[in-house]
Amino acid sequence: MYFIQHIESITHQDSFQKENIWNELKPLAGENELISPDYKNYIPVAALRRLSTILRMGITAAKACQEKVPAEFDAISVGTALGCLTDTEKFLVTINTVSGDVLSPTAFIQSTHNTIAGQISLDLKNHAYNMTHTQNALSFEVALKDGLLCIDEGKHSVLVGAADEAIPFLERLRGSLIETTYPFTSGATFMVLSGEKGNSIASIRACNVSFSDKHTETQVEQFLEANHCSLQDVDLILEAGFDFKSKAKNHISFPEYTGFYQSASAFAVHMANDWLINHVNDSRILIVNNLELNKLGLTLISRNEVEA
């Protein structure tokens, strides 16, 4: 069992440093924007100025997690689907418009996917295992699986997170690179996982990813069976789409709350954790990440007392 010690999200919901995010959550409607905390509380003003949204969100959520747990992280695993888009685009504009030999390197340095995890380690002076994963809509799940593996290997306090940021250019790719009707949004969710229960309410039981031309309901059934339960035992399904709406006791399509960013399933873990705080009779929550047709991510979360 992988106990969720603490979890923080910065999203288009009022979700940062909340006792329970469900007190504030509502489906996104009409115009909405990222609800940014006061980043100055976590990042020195001088540094803040040159940091893009994804870096601000990632560093702040990670530091807010570190404040809440006694031990230093002994592994950091971060997922991002499209990475640091603001700086990537900024540097692309620079190289196409600035002539001469002197280019500012800041945007280039901050354009690589590993800037998020790298900055976190730098700010926390953390020398532990540090990894950055990117696998389109499964970016969070592959980072999570690495984090779970770290705990299996004996690590005690593992930071797992995911972040993605929207830039206006994405709107042009609607229908080509990205198929969605949801608004493009930004978000970061970071969590501290441990093999020890601590004060946690819920734990991640398992996470599975699959890349394939076709996915079937059988895969979901087999995943649950391998974890000693079935769809009937699942109290809530948090799904990227609507395939399981008719089969679930409770069903939420999480992009209605997160908008579209490919690592939003990390926020679904936050939704699941806090749901179990509110719904004392519920035991198991399944996150079905079928945001992209050729991928399936499955994450099972349950109340700590539940056997399987």
């Binding site: 689907a81 280019l103 390197p105 690589t112 926390l124 002076k125 950055t132 990117t134 696998q135 592959v142």
Partner: protein
């Protein structure tokens, strides 16, 4: 449980398969030349001289994709050649890349900026994760497909994650490595950092000025002992150790004393159950920047004390191939293990004054080499080390 290497493949500016790469290493022939593309012509680069379309034709690839994906397909296909897909053998693919499909998306984006119509379908090749999905598809692998993006240590980290996935039983076999195609974005990026050497790069030399960029891909096939019983594959090397640590010193620079490097090397030795004395050759990260080589030298001195094994940087052959470097250099390490090679650090003349370390200066065969340590360090403080051992 042991992790075996049962296949390897490489493409770089010195050759389009392992055999050609070995020939170039043996003849001490660098692949670094004056660039041929509009954005590389001012620099010395380790460029592969075929265009994307030519590569697709030449290697009978089924997909047109970005250069990063194409190079990855070529090296991964060589590594996986002769291996069979089998539903009983859970096979995954982990690839490292720094910029993914940037070489094609930057062209479309340039059209967009200049007000011309950009081909929106081109951007489908952009995400780094997509390059791995395309490589996996070329090999027929599905299930677990993942991409590591830790800058210049990406491939080493992919290899390491593959080993851990095998040890945990989540996979029986993994195709692991890294790939990066040259792009204007990368060339301009490193130019902005002002760490190019206009001459041939000189790793570990007192007069070193910086890097020559390169492109390529390197992949390994990893199998457990149990899997080998089923596949009947001959083990070509043992992946004995791995370590990953964060330098946590600076966004781009390495700590002067090589703290992260030291941690990564020590942790790899500990996983392998080896002492520093057991290492017979180090394939260094050795980018030839003043900062990296000094920091890495200090790290090596800290770990190995007064008895430093022969070491060299083969980036003087291939250029710095970024996310691919750990994969390409892992293949070089396996070639070195199996033929007892010590690979020369081309262009070296004068030891760094502060450390006095002298790398391998000429090629030799038939040396007694049982364990090789290979370093890969990336921006963001991502330091990784793998150890490959003779079967």
């Amino acid at each position: 449980m042991r992790i075996y290497v049962t296949g390897y493949g490489v493409i770089s500016s010195v050759g389009e398969n392992s055999e050609e790469n070995l020939l170039a290493l043996r003849s001490e022939k660098t692949g670094i030349k004056q660039g041929k593309k509009t954005y590389t012509e001012r620099f010395k680069v380790g460029e592969i001289h075929w265009s994307n379309d030519e590569l697709v034709q030449r290697f009978n690839l089924t997909q047109h994709a970005s250069r990063t994906a194409i190079l990855g397909m070529i090296a991964a296909k060589e590594a996986f050649n002769g291996h069979l897909l089998d539903p009983e053998i859970k096979t995954g693919l982990i690839s490292g890349t720094s910029v993914g499909g940037m070489d094609v998306s930057e062209i479309a984006y340039k059209d967009f900026l200049s007000g011309e119509s950009d081909d929106l379908n081109v951007y489908k090749n952009h995400p780094s994760g997509t390059t791995s999905e395309q490589i996996a598809k070329e090999l027929g692998i599905d299930g677990y497909v993942n991409t590591i993006s830790t800058a210049c240590s990406s491939a080493a980290n992919s290899i390491m994650l593959g080993a851990r996935m095998l040890l945990s039983g989540q996979l029986d076999r993994a195709v692991v490595g890294g790939t990066d195609g040259l792009s204007q974005f990368t060339i301009a990026g490193f130019r902005s950092l002002m760490i190019f050497d206009e001459e041939w790069c000189r790793p570990f030399d007192e007069t070193r000025k910086g890097i020559n960029l390169g492109e390529g891909a390197g992949f390994l096939v990893l199998e457990t002992e149990e899997t080998i019983k089923k596949t009947g594959k001959k083990p070509l090397a043992i992946l004995a150790g791995w370590g990953n640590a964060s330098d946590a010193y600076h966004q781009t620079a390495s700590s002067p004393e090589g703290y992260g490097a030291t941690l990564a090397m020590k942790s790899a030795l500990s996983v392998a159950g080896l002492k520093p004395d057991d290492i017979d050759y180090i394939n260094a990260h050795g980018t030839a920047t003043p900062n990296n080589d000094l920091s890495e030298s200090h790290g090596i001195k800290t770990v190995f004390g007064s008895s430093i094994p022969p070491f060299s940087s083969t980036k003087s052959y291939t250029g710095h191939t970024l996310a691919a470097s750990g994969g390409i250099e892992a293949v070089f390490a396996i070639l070195a293990l199996n033929k007892g090679l010590l690979l020369p650090n081309l262009n070296f003349k004068q030891a760094i004054e502060e450390t006095g370390l002298v790398p391998v200066k000429s090629y030799s065969e038939g040396n007694d080499i049982k364990h090789i340590l290979s370093n890969s360090f990336g921006f963001g403080g991502n330091n990784s080390t793998i150890i490959l051992s003779k079967v």
